[in-house]
């Protein structure tokens, strides 16, 4: 498992966080929604607004490590009006894909 949310990934406990991981079967980047579904759209992710909510989200997300996802982490996000995006470049690239033109277009999901 990657660094759990409240440690190195988010030293500032005031940050808003979402749970992200990779789908166990496909490796695809996924975010945990409020209903417990792991899906690809960060805008549908459950947002933890404080330390207690983050710990609770982490705990619920960890139950999915057995069968559904791998490499779980809580990551800081930034709200921009109605939009949500990861704070760190690494996570922006995870969310949106490589910043370069790929030799072939991505498959439809």
């Amino acid at each position: 498992m990657r660094v759990p949310g409240m440690s190195a990934k988010s030293k500032n406990s005031d940050l808003t966080l979402v749970a992200t991981a990779n789908d166990l079967r496909t490796g695809a980047v996924v975010y945990r929604a409020r209903d417990g579904a792991w899906q690809r759209d960060i805008s549908r992710a459950e947002i933890a607004e404080d330390k207690d909510a983050a710990a609770d989200l982490q705990q619920r997300a960890e139950t999915d490590l057995a069968l559904r996802v791998a490499d779980l982490a809580l990551i800081p996000i930034i709200r921009d009006g109605a939009f949500v995006r990861p704070a760190a470049l690494r996570e922006i690239i995870r969310a949106t894909g490589p910043t370069i033109e790929l030799p072939s277009p991505p498959p439809r999901l």
């Binding site: 498992m1 990779n22 166990l24 079967r25 496909t26 490796g27 695809a28 980047v29 490590l65 057995a66 069968l67 791998a70 490499d71 760190a88 470049l89 690494r90 690239i93 995870r94 894909g97 490589p98 910043t99 370069i100 790929l102 030799p103 072939s104 991505p106 498959p107």
Partner: protein, 553 residues
């Protein structure tokens, strides 16, 4: 080419079956990720930023057309229709689904390929000179020895849990085209005064966060002692290498801490004590492997190549391609051809399935069914008839594979960086693309001449930046990508580690900075025949620092 015997086939098939079961147990929840991770890594499966990544070994960089077509098939069927050739003669698929890995491994096994030991703290894929068996300057083909080392090191029980990963490279010519002095062990095949074959042995080189040039521990190791001597080195490392600190666990640190003389003595003592009864390499065993690498049936009736000469006189682009990408062959009438995977503005090392198929067809028709992968992220057609070069060029051109930039400023080595890699701190591919576009003009490239730019997206140095004439290292500075430049590195027989030229540059500034360095070189070189590295070694860092930073002082 080497062909699997029944033992190889059994070993690989058994491993595929074993890993198929392990994947099923992971997907069913029977194995936790902590239990599964070391197992998947042993089979070349990483979890990167966007997906799983499958790393496929290409031993000593040699492929047949059948194997290349299978890689194309895997790209089309299981991945996103392309693959990425790395600096360790591997191929990586970046969009692999774990559930499909067992099928991919089974399909690879059918063409005598696997992913074993492409990760983990073991002896990794053995690399070799990509011009092996073809180059005019060769003493002996290094690949039979690389194959012997592959067989010896595959699933070797004593060396499967080393302190850290361990990389071997072998060359068979005085010209080092495999960067052996920045490997854990580098071997140079040579002859002694009596004409007997043996090896110069280098130990303790490497890049990463602590770059080191290897020490020569034997100037001539007799051929028969190869395996026993490797065991002696590995045994010393296994016993004395540090396991308390991952960043100090490579053999280069042990060599550095013990000192050159002490490590030599320790190896020699172990070698003297070792039971060699089962470790001697008899000549007939070497010959049995050498037969797999016997030269192809060259046409020895060379009597000029008129079609080649005509094309070179009438087609300027073909002439440029010949000048840069065609190299002397040991057999009159033949040439070695570099297929550049560095199109202007492209991703270094990437290749679509259609291009793989095109190269497979060319390989089969024009290069005795052999193609090579170089650590410089290009392909090599090792045995092309001079008279066939115009046709080969036309076929490569049709597949967008005829970029005439071998060894030039746009022939950039570059790791996947933060666009793919979970270890990276900064993007490297976009920097390579923008540099390539900045220097795209072929006349300008030709004027600049030989110049190796190498880019890594983190200190692990997969992009070999330490041995770039111009090296670029991406770092994370308070959440922003920053790029540190080193100058004067070289991975050849004159191996040197680049020196940091000064403070780093932003992603915007680094392209201009490289251009400033190149322009400074053009002004200070004594003649166009003095290449960048030679000029740098003559004048040192100062003129480049002056050009880069004087205005900021």
């Amino acid at each position: 080419m080497y062909r699997y015997d029944e033992f190889d086939h059994d070993l690989v098939r058994e491993r595929v079956a074993e890993f198929t079961d392990q994947v099923a147990r992971r997907l069913s929840g029977e194995l936790t990720e902590d239990q599964f991770k070391p197992l998947r890594l042993m089979n070349g499966v990483y979890l990167q930023l966007h997906a799983y990544m499958l790393r496929i070994a290409i031993p000593y960089g040699t492929l047949s057309s059948r194997q290349m077509r299978r890689l194309a098939h895997l790209a089309r069927t299981y991945d996103r229709d392309y693959g990425h050739f790395t600096t360790r003669q591997n191929l990586q698929f970046h969009w692999t689904k774990l559930a499909e890995v067992p099928k991919m491994l089974a399909e690879l096994a059918e063409v005598e390929m696997h992913c074993i030991q492409t990760s983990g703290n073991c002896i990794r894929n053995v690399t070799a000179d990509h011009f092996a068996g073809a180059s005019a300057d060769e003493i002996a083909d290094p690949r039979p020895y690389a194959e012997i080392l592959r067989q010896w090191s595959s699933l070797h029980p004593e060396f499967s849990l080393l302190p850290r990963k361990f990389k071997l490279a072998v060359i068979g010519a005085p010209k080092d085209r495999a960067a052996i002095q920045v490997h854990d062990i580098g071997l140079e095949v040579k002859r002694n005064e009596a004409g007997e074959l043996g090896f110069a042995v280098w130990v303790g080189g490497g890049q990463g966060r602590t770059p080191m040039i290897a020490k020569k521990v034997r100037d001539f190791l007799p051929e028969a002692d190869l395996i026993a001597y490797m065991e002696a080195i590995l045994r010393i490392y296994n016993q004395q290498g540090r396991r308390d600190n991952k960043f100090k666990a490579r053999i280069k640190i042990l060599v550095h801490e013990m000192g050159e003389e002490e490590i030599k003595s320790a190896i020699e003592r172990e070698f003297a004590a070792i039971d060699k009864s089962n470790l001697q390499l008899p000549r007939d065993a070497v010959e049995r492997i050498e037969r797999y690498f016997a030269p192809p049936a060259f046409d020895t009736r060379f009597n000029g190549a008129p079609a080649f000469e005509r094309a070179r006189e009438t087609d300027k682009e073909f002439a440029s391609f010949v000048a840069r990408n065609v190299h002397p062959h040991k057999m009159p009438g033949y040439a070695i051809v570099t297929v550049s995977l560095k199109p202007i503005g492209g991703t270094p090392g990437d290749m679509t399935s259609a291009q793989m198929d095109a190269v497979a067809d060319i390989t089969e028709q024009y290069s005795f069914d052999e193609v090579r992968v170089s650590h410089e992220q290009n392909l090599v057609l090792p045995h092309v008839k001079l008279e066939d070069l115009p046709a080969v060029y036309a076929r490569l051109h049709a597949a967008d594979l005829a970029t005439a930039n071998y060894g030039l400023v746009t022939d950039i080595i570059c790791c996947p960086g933060l666009d793919y890699c979970s270890l990276a701190n900064a993007r490297s591919i976009p920097i390579a693309q923008r540099l390539s576009e900045r220097f795209a003009d072929p006349v300008r490239q030709s004027d600049i001449g030989d110049l190796k730019i190498k880019i890594s997206g983190c200190i692990n140095a997969c992009g070999h930046h330490h041995v770039g004439h111009i090296g670029i290292l991406g770092v994370d500075r308070k959440g922003e990508e920053f790029y540190q430049i080193t100058l004067g590195g070289s991975g050849d027989e004159t191996c040197s580690i680049g020196e940091i030229v000064g403070k780093g540059f932003s992603s915007e500034g680094v392209i201009d900075a490289v251009e400033t360095i190149v322009d400074t070189y053009l002004k200070l070189r004594e003649s166009p025949r003095e290449d960048f590295l030679t000029a740098y070694r003559r004048v040192g860092e100062a003129p480049f620092q002056e050009a880069l930073y004087a205005h900021a002082a």
